[in-house]
Symmetry: C2
Subunit: 88 residues, 2 copies
DNA sequence: TAGAAATCCTCACAATCATGAGGATTTCAC
DNA sequence: GTGAAATCCTCATGATTGTGAGGATTTCTA
């Protein structure tokens, strides 16, 4: 199921729900993902001042996929970037 | 169009493509979003060690929507969290 | 309700980050 | 190819973050 993220802090609820759906404790999840329990707790409580790379690590570790929704015109630009790179 | 984010650094290309699709310069976009040009440049180059809250600000400012994809079981847990909160 | 378990919170600390300035490098229209 | 414009990179600085430890508080099962 796809859940739109309306605000930076909204990720927390989804992370916690994911963890609980898998019946994992915070400290166990943190351990297997490779972050501190403190950090995972902060994310779940809606912390915004967390490092994106580590947040992504947590999302990935809990099987949460991240999707960015953009207009078609943007997708075109991504293709162009790829093409211009291939030229050089 | 929905673009799956496979790695934390993949966000950068999408951010840059979005900005260019709107024909905005880096410093202008940064200014109107409320972050430094340096920061926006870092994101676009794939920086992972950026603050999630500020990254979300940039995504929002460029009209990029964030979506999290989870199993239905997780969605159920989110509803439960909401219900248990309503009880107390 | 009791109490064990889970989570939250504070602390200290070393590492790191966002900013703004300024110069180096790259891009791209002509 | 040229050169103006855009972007990248480094620096210094004050602010901030992730970690681990330990205690406070909350949760939830029996």
């Amino acid at each position: 199921m796809q859940i739109p993220v309306k605000s930076a802090d909204a990720v927390g609820k989804i992370v916690r729900a994911s963890r609980k759906a898998q019946n994992i404790r915070q400290d166990d999840a943190a351990g297997s993902i490779g972050v501190s329990e403190n950090f995972l707790g902060k994310i779940e409580r809606g912390g915004e001042s967390v490092q994106w790379g580590k947040l992504f690590q947590v999302l990935d570790g809990l099987g949460i996929r991240v999707v960015l929704d953009v207009p078609e015109s943007v997708a075109d630009h991504i293709s162009q970037q790829h093409k211009s790179q291939a030229k050089s």
